[in-house]
Symmetry: C2
Subunit: 309 residues, 2 copies
């Protein structure tokens, strides 16, 4: 049997990973213990593929779908797999059991990559015979539209497993980055959290409205960040590059850092106020439609970016 890629768990993330691997031409086995979860996944994947075709981001839904096999038997899904993308529940005990079961079904060198956003892989791989092939490959939802993947090895992970995972992700068109430590929140959520914490402080202090705060990013900061990132942005924003920039603006940013209060103000009353303001922009009954708009906007942006490459 030719080596395939197994995706374990057919929830939101598992389905999306199946699409990512399948559209790159890989044979996929998508496993879930629940038959009804598999049926839901089939329908959801077909809908997503149709959306991708409609947005000119995929040539053929039928061909992509044909690469995915749906399995409710873990042994069958994993037999002969060369890479497993685990998308199980975010519970440590569940993952520990799952990894032990998975290890018994695959070759010693098969990579076991977790989609977890919050649990260090060392916590659910330290009891394995071969923990050196375990790591995190954390996607952003949905990975078939947002290409970033955070690859986070444990202290036990081999350099070879890291390199094979990075290469596989690159080969299928994702953008893997190497997070060298099992740090809480990895990198993406730490950056997001830093900005959100400052946003909450500004909202709590009444400096700006929630709607204007979003405008500050979407009509200001976020435009260049969507194609350059924050370091290249400041590197190009001073005649002498990033060191020159740091001389000009570093003191300001360090002042701001010192002005933070110690507690991040995610106060329930503040959040209720923010929510009230957001609901005036998009009513609760329109949220599902707004999510569709978001996905359409994201597809249009990705399609636009492709034309720029």
């Amino acid at each position: 049997m030719a080596p395939h890629i197994a995706v374990v768990g057919a929830g939101l993330i598992g389905r999306a990973w199946a699409i990512v691997f399948a559209r790159a031409g890989h044979a996929i086995r998508l496993y879930d213990p629940s038959q009804s979860a598999l049926e839901n996944a089939q329908a959801a994947i077909q809908q997503s593929l149709a959306d991708l075709v409609a947005a000119d981001l995929l040539a053929s839904a039928t061909e992509t779908f044909s690469h995915i096999q749906f399995d409710d038997c873990l042994a069958k899904a994993l037999e002969g797999a060369r890479y497993v993308q685990e998308c199980g529940p975010e519970q440590l005990d569940v993952k520990r059991d799952l990894y032990q079961k998975m290890e018994a079904l695959v070759a010693p060198e098969t990579i076991l990559a977790s989609s977890t956003s919050g649990i260090s892989a060392s916590h659910f791989s330290d009891h394995l015979a071969h923990p050196e092939r375990c790591l995190v490959a954390h996607p952003v939802n949905p990975p078939y539209l947002i290409p970033l993947v955070e690859v986070v090895p444990t202290p036990m992970t081999s350099a070879q497993a890291v390199e094979m995972t990075m290469k596989l992700q690159r080969d299928i068109g994702q953008q893997p980055v190497l997070v060298r430590e099992e740090i809480q929140g990895f990198v993406l959520n730490r950056l997001q959290g830093a900005l959100l914490n400052e946003a909450m402080r500004l909202l709590h202090d009444g400096v700006i409205s929630a709607v204007d705060l979003d405008k500050t990013v979407k009509h200001g900061l976020g435009l260049r960040w969507s194609f350059m990132g924050p370091l290249e942005t400041i590197d190009l924003n001073a005649p002498g590059g990033i060191c020159d920039y740091a001389e000009r603006y570093g003191p300001l940013y360090q002042d701001i850092d010192r002005q933070r209060s110690d507690t991040a103000p995610w106060y329930p009353e503040l959040l209720t106020t923010i929510e009230g303001e957001l609901r005036q922009q998009v009513a609760a009954s329109d949220l599902a439609a707004r999510q569709q708009w978001r996905d359409q906007s994201l597809m249009a942006l990705i399609s636009h970016q492709r034309t720029r490459r």
Copy 2:
């Protein structure tokens, strides 16, 4: 004489403001005491207008250019102006002198708006007879591509001056936001600083490379932020909206906030290392070309966003 808009200072920001107002059909007088600065500004504006036309973001360069009059006499530039956009040097004493001179030349109700990114307007308007028409209207460079404008009143600014400035900015197609306090860095740079400070800490701790950090934003976080902003992003990322999201992820972000070290690590050696890594991506000799790429990318993104509206 029909009321016009005066732009004071023909540097990078002044030229860009002249384009923003002129393309909206306003008569502009662009003042600079230096004749050679005005000549440079003429050439630079013509180049920018040609770029905008080439990117399908402007119908006629000639027509837009015809709205701009270049003046080396402050009295002539300001006579009869209904709004002044000040783009002078970022030095408090220079600005204090300039505002006193400008006040003597305009009507009491003429708005005097400063492009300053770093000085509170109260510091250079408290000595005026009519400080109630002074405020900050801080653009992002270049404002003809990035529409955000931070409008920051002083404690002395009248509600009417704020409303008139917000309305004028909206009318010319910018996206003004109201910053209710004269807070250091206003809102955009505080948000940028919060993310950059966390980025510097992660780089200092060796968690990620500079290139991968930029990827984390440009292939991950920055995509949705370029059309939604951070609050709408999390509002749509949990079934029950932003309060639901805060229950799930608020604790993580507050943990991250508590993990910050007290000093923002803009260490010179760290910056040199980052710069070295960035220069491997784009050599120093290619920086000017990369800046052109950035501006072309920004124009293409804005053009793409227009087709989505």
